[in-house]
């Protein structure tokens, strides 16, 4: 997994606070003050009620694996992609690292960590909790 280099993420005005926090090792999600629901990926306008009263909140980044796939057809060597269902509710697309890829299981508890990218801010990935 360490062999697959992660490109720099595209950063824009909507997502900049997330990436600034990521540089400090903090994992942020967005929650809507109007309807109370958390969502992913973070947006200015809530995708549920379309209110612009969305706010960043720090998350411990804990959740369970919803699904995954270990990619073998890759020049960088195998890597795992999957979705994590956060304790706050939203599902997050990510990579799984720091583990035996062959032992990954749906329902497994995982926790966020940050991985360096090629010239950009670090990105959230998940490892077994």
């Amino acid at each position: 997994m360490a062999d697959r280099k992660i490109p720099a993420p595209a950063v824009n005005n909507e997502s900049r606070p997330f990436w600034e926090a990521a540089r400090e090792g903090r994992f942020l999600i967005k929650r809507c003050r109007a309807c109370g629901q958390a969502h992913w990926y973070p947006r200015l306008n809530c995708p549920f009620c379309f209110s612009d009263q969305t706010a960043w909140e720090e998350s411990p980044g804990e959740g369970v694996i919803y699904t995954f796939s270990v990619m073998h057809h890759a020049t960088s060597g195998p890597y795992a992609i999957g979705y994590v269902t956060l304790a706050e509710g939203p599902a997050v697309l990510t990579n799984f690292v720091g583990c035996d890829l062959g032992a990954l299981k749906i329902g497994q508890k995982v926790k966020v960590r940050f991985q360096e990218t090629e010239g950009g801010p670090p990105v959230p990935v998940f490892a077994p909790a």
Partner: protein, 392 residues
């Protein structure tokens, strides 16, 4: 307003090429257009509506209309990946029904095989993808068509006990059909054991769970009823069409075990006034085996979660099973031009309704067919489109 019976398929053409080393993509579009016009008995000057999607080079419909020397009064470049052309048939039927055009041409072409850099499946080319709102949070994780569709299969197996053997039956059925298609990329009949023994690409999908990568293309001509009756072709009537996008929806209640077919399917069936049990032949988009299994469930051919049992034991093989599918060999064995399979789904369904499929795979008295596809990422961000056609 319903489109039922207000538009017909006047012409079809599937380019026989599978490796287009020396051809350009616009050239392939034009060759497909010529082929479909010849099939219909029309000329390019008869065309007054044009439809294309993201595979068309340049400025969408405008570049292609100019390149081919068309003069149209209606155009549509709606892009939903591989399902675009199914959706275009529906949109063309709407335009014809509304009197916006009488003879609509839909083309697809591309050469990913000749041009491929090697490695993963491609997202549509062109601008904008790095500015997609999700780009910063998704594009970094190495998602390809293989592993994103594989994630659906992994979850489907987890929830419903679906097995790799059951998925393999879909490829086996496609290979049984492809053996009779002289243009098919892969004509060898394979077994469940062959599929399971093929290399793992993205767990749990093996190489033989994946479609071919081919160059080429296809074209379809949608015409008004009076035009259809003037052509010397069997009458294939469009009686229902619907489309539906699905996305990860803010990450709430993420469910990768169903596709947008749960909405487009019932809407198309309702418009057509028929049910899944009435369907004699089904073209089901087969980018991967799991794509077929989920769409069959979502369209209502069986209950959610029972797709594995439904597709097993040859149930999709023409002359053997209850739901003959993809009798050209489909994307799994025949052709997946431009990494987009939607148009070949329409074409083989029309061949079946005309009685013009290969005799070894022709469905007896085939008077009602469905063509359905998914473009984008199955389970998450994609566009589903369904077309139901009837032999008149």
């Amino acid at each position: 307003m319903s489109i039922k019976g207000k538009a017909y398929i006047g012409g079809i053409f599937e380019h026989p090429i599978r490796q287009a080393t020396d051809q350009s993509t616009p050239q392939l579009h034009a060759e497909c257009a010529k082929g479909a016009l010849a099939d219909a008995g029309l000329t390019k000057d008869d065309v007054d509506g044009y439809f294309c999607a993201g595979d068309a080079p340049g400025f969408g419909a405008m570049s292609m209309v100019d390149y081919m020397g068309l003069k149209v009064r209606h155009m549509d470049s709606t892009e939903t990946g591989g399902s675009s052309y199914l959706l275009h048939v529906g949109h063309a039927a709407q335009a014809v029904a509304a009197g916006k055009c009488r003879i609509a041409l839909v083309t697809l072409a591309g050469r990913p095989r000749a041009a491929r850099p090697g490695g993963g499946g491609g997202r549509p080319g062109g601008g904008g993808f790095n500015e997609a709102p999700e780009a910063g949070f998704e594009a970094i994780y190495g998602g390809t068509t293989h592993n994103t569709y594989a994630m659906c299969a992994m979850r489907h197996m987890h929830e419903f006990g679906t097995t790799s053997e059951q998925l393999a039956w879909i490829k086996v059925a496609a290979s049984h059909h492809a053996q009779w298609n002289p243009h098919a990329m892969l004509r060898e009949v394979v077994t469940v054991e062959d599929v399971l023994a093929s290399p793992m690409i993205a767990t749990p999908l093996h190489r033989m769970d994946c479609c071919v990568i081919t160059d080429g293309g296809g074209a379809v001509i949608v015409v008004a009823p009076e035009v259809a009756r003037s052509l010397k072709r069997p009458l294939v009537k469009i009686i229902g069409a619907a489309e539906a996008p699905k996305g990860p929806a803010g990450g709430k209640d993420l469910d990768l075990t169903y596709s947008g077919a749960v909405w487009s399917g019932p809407a198309a069936f309702a418009e057509a006034g028929v049910t899944p049990a009435d369907i004699k032949y089904a073209s089901i988009y087969d980018s991967f085996t799991i794509t077929v299994l989920m769409q069959i469930e979502d369209l209502g051919f069986c209950k959610k979660g029972e797709g594995g049992r439904f597709v097993a034991d040859g149930n999709l093989i023409s002359g053997v099973g209850k739901l003959p599918f993809n009798t050209d060999g489909g994307g799994l064995c025949n052709n997946h031009p431009a990494n987009r399979g939607g148009i070949t789904k329409v074409i083989e369904a029309v061949r079946q309704l005309r009685g013009g499929a290969h005799p070894k795979v022709q469905v007896a008295s085939c008077d009602l067919a469905i063509a359905h596809g998914t473009g984008g990422s199955l389970g998450v961000r994609h566009g589903a489109a369904t077309v139901i056609m009837e032999r008149e």
